[in-house]
Symmetry: C2
Subunit: 290 residues, 2 copies
């Protein structure tokens, strides 16, 4: 397994037509592969608009089984392009059980999947209506490029999730995401939210000495008649000291970088946080509150 790998994050805007979104994703994935990417990640729920802006049983028709149509389309593509590809699907697991699921397709094979563990619910992000919380825990996925810890959007606010993934060997954490502002939010609030979002993800790189890849969608989407959400883009790649390697703004773009996993060894030698964790004194973290 090689230490140097090239990674690419697809930051798209999306529209109502699932077919057009899939075509757009395919075309961008091909472009990323031409740039030299070994690993390509799409953003959260990239086949559709972000339907969780409203609670509506109509949207359950967007869900699909895994494996199913999308697994087949993207799986074939990952084989054709000889890449490792992260896709994010609205999974129908059973009648009435749906998940927000990410899947790694490794050169045509399903390497593994992750079902979103932390489910948000706030105005415009009514995910608790749609998604059953994941029940397979924080298990990184072995791929031909190394061990990848997949976490999804809201998971990014929880240091426990990143930590467990890394204790289990993740070398890269990848966060497919759909996050944005209410357009009417004050400028200072927007800036605090964006900064906090970048900061918390960089902190997982720092605390664990790993690479973090975060990939968001962009553009305004209206599902109700109101102002909708301005997805803020800003996909980024950071190294094991939290240093930004490459970052997008809010445009449609592919964020590309070559990363060297050997840097994980070097950083963990100068910052040996795993050596000093007080595992004898962390049990209280299993409580809701005191």
């Amino acid at each position: 397994m090689k230490d140097k790998i090239s990674v690419a994050l697809i930051q798209n805007s999306y529209e109502e037509s699932v077919e057009k979104n899939i075509d757009k994703n395919i075309s961008k994935i091909k472009e990323a592969q031409k740039m030299g990417a070994d690993f390509v990640s799409l953003s959260e729920l990239h086949n559709s608009l972000y339907f969780c802006q409203r609670e509506d049983t109509e949207f359950f028709k967007l869900a699909e089984e895994i494996p199913g149509k999308s697994t087949e389309i993207y799986g074939r593509l990952s084989k054709e392009l000889n890449i490792t590809l992260l896709v994010s699907l609205f999974e129908k697991r059973a009648r009435g059980i749906f998940h927000n699921t990410a899947l790694i397709l490794d050169r045509g094979e399903i390497a593994g999947l992750y079902r979103k563990m932390h489910i948000p619910d706030d105005p415009g992000f009514y995910e608790k209506f749609y998604f059953t919380p994941g029940d397979i825990g924080f298990e990184p996925i072995e791929t031909s490029l190394g061990t990848i810890g997949v976490l999804i959007c809201w998971d990014q606010w929880f240091p426990e999730a990143a930590r467990i993934m890394c204790l289990k060997g993740a070398e890269l954490l990848v966060y497919p995401t759909a996050i944005g502002w209410a357009p009417s939010d004050p400028t200072e609030e927007k800036s605090r939210q964006l900064e906090a979002w970048i900061n918390i993800q960089r902190s997982h790189a720092i605390a664990n000495g790993v690479f973090v890849l975060s990939v968001n969608r962009t553009g305004n989407e209206k599902i109700n008649n109101d102002e909708g959400i301005d997805f803020w883009g800003n996909s980024f790649i950071c190294g094991p000291q939290g240093e930004i390697v490459k970052k997008a703004n809010s445009e449609e773009t592919i964020t590309f970088a070559e990363i060297d996993k050997e840097r994980i060894d070097k950083v963990r030698q100068i910052w040996p946080f795993f050596r000093d964790r007080r595992i004898d004194e962390y049990e209280d973290i299993l409580n809701r509150f005191f």
Copy 2:
């Protein structure tokens, strides 16, 4: 208990004379109180040079009991000035048992103490030689100003420590610190280290919806004949979205701000991370590695 409190961080440089350091601290604490501070924090081990640059049994003579001389001096001062004061001492607990301990003196009374839990050891920071790891866990301290989670320097790299303090009710996390660069480190490495140090502490504010106060020393100190350490200052106060409220550079200074604890309520309502923690799935965090 009032929600609005004024806090001040004393960022000093230090010299060999303990007496002169204490005099300097007293004078700066008085200055902070004149500015209107209710809570004043000194930095880590503020009575001496940072002796952990070298392993030398000679330095154990700097240790003292708690309560002892420093407790008395600073305790009297906190009473006289009617303030809540954080001091950081090299504690002699018993023959051959020493701790890196922080103490909150609340208007003349010992409100509580914290013994550093995570002990670093890397070139120039040979703390494992001097300090027995703390055994009283992550217990916040009740004061007349509210509940304060005291953590010390190296603790700042461990999200578990911040999390447990906040689950136990901490409204403010305070990190007395002694951190700096080797003067010969490349500029880019210095910048990565400083940014990471700020980033990881802001992340604890974000993840837990609390205020974070970090107070560092400044200036070059040589204990060996080599280049010594450039302590980088940069003490700061940030709010529960991780937003910087006030930050120093590397000069000797008092970082002062009024903070409103009601903001904790507001931020936790829009970012209800405590609501969504997957405490049913965090047990793996108690492992060293997998």
